[in-house]
């Protein structure tokens, strides 16, 4: 799967880049090993691991720590192991297979790989390039919007993994112009926000206004005044909501 963003929504992908991923992969082990060995190997590789990016990679080759959130065997047959892995962004699965092969002492490599989750996106919303082409055709040539509307998701979907804050109508326009969010503009917010978190700031209708950096925790944002969220990327066009005198 590959989430592709249109127009102004491309800015939301920065927050997907750092979100957790899930893959289903096929590992080929170079000599037969018992299934019990594979299972204990998998539990050894769950949690924090050190990984050297592969020779052919798009990042600097220095040892780095990555977290494997879950790692489970789906099917093991002969020297092939089909597995599911949930991992931190920037984990190389190809390298994970090689490292697990080394640990087994017999070697292994990755034979196939498929991404099954990227942050809030999973396989439920997948569309093939053919589906997309057809949908565009129906819309442009036949004037039928049904298919294209089903295929294109809201930008809000792409930031669904971020904690959200909803702001008053009167606060929206200045935020669209790049102003930071102060406490008086907040109507509702989710608990558990920590200072430094990326947060999705939305209108009361649930439209994404901007994504920013929390300057305080959720509890602290309940106070009377002060700076709550610094603007990073604005999504809503100015003028969508009316200009209001400063709060």
């Amino acid at each position: 799967m590959l989430p592709v963003a249109l127009g102004n929504a491309t800015k939301a992908l920065a927050y997907l880049l750092t979100a957790g991923k899930e893959y289903v992969a096929l590992m080929h082990i170079h000599k037969p090993v018992s299934e019990a060995d594979i299972r204990s190997l998998f539990s050894d590789f769950t949690g924090t691991i050190s990984q050297l990016p592969p020779v052919r990679s798009s990042v600097k080759r220095v040892l780095r720590k990555r977290t494997i959130y879950y790692l489970e065997v789906l099917e093991a047959y002969d020297q092939d192991v089909l597995f599911r892995v949930g991992c931190q962004a920037g984990t190389y699965i190809r390298k994970l297979c090689v490292d697990m092969g080394k640990k087994l002492g017999v070697g292994a490599h990755m034979a196939e790989l498929r991404r099954t989750r990227a942050g809030p996106f999973n396989e439920d919303s997948l569309v093939t390039l053919h589906d997309l082409k057809d949908a565009v055709h129906y819309w442009m040539h036949d004037g039928d919007e049904t298919a294209i509307k089903r295929i294109i998701m809201n930008v809000e979907t792409a930031v669904a993994h971020l904690p959200r804050i909803q702001v008053l109508d009167s606060a929206v326009d200045s935020l669209c112009h790049g102003a930071s969010l102060s406490m008086p503009g907040i109507s509702r917010l989710e608990s558990g926000i920590k200072k430094g978190d990326a947060v999705a700031v939305m209108s009361l209708k649930g439209e994404l206004v901007f994504v920013g950096n929390a300057q305080l925790s959720s509890e602290e944002m309940l106070a009377d005044h002060g700076l709550a969220v610094k603007t990073e990327r604005v999504f809503m066009q100015p003028g969508t909501y009316p200009k209001m005198p400063k709060l």
């Binding site: 989430p3 963003a5 949930g86 082409k133 294209i148 809201n154 989710e190």
Partner: protein, 78 residues
């Protein structure tokens, strides 16, 4: 929730969030619209498509091209 589900979750799903109300307020129907009500024109300027990437091309190469070259769609994939 059951144990199996916890094992299969990514970190952002492990945080339980409640909605806190700082100030109850209404929103005016005169401005903006709920995301579900966007027109196709608005979706093209602010939407996401979850592509079932074919085998072969990597995201770094030209997998986005068939979409990028659709008239009116400006995209970036990541």
């Amino acid at each position: 929730m059951n144990k199996e589900l916890n094992k299969q979750s990514l970190p952002f799903e492990r945080i339980e969030r409640k909605e806190l109300v700082r100030r109850e307020a209404e929103t005016s129907a005169k401005f903006g619209c709920r995301p579900q009500c966007r027109s196709i024109g608005e979706l093209i300027k602010l939407g996401v498509v979850n592509i079932d990437k074919p085998r072969g091309p990597t995201r770094m190469s030209h997998v986005g091209d068939p979409i990028r070259f659709q008239p009116m769609l400006r995209t970036y994939s990541g």
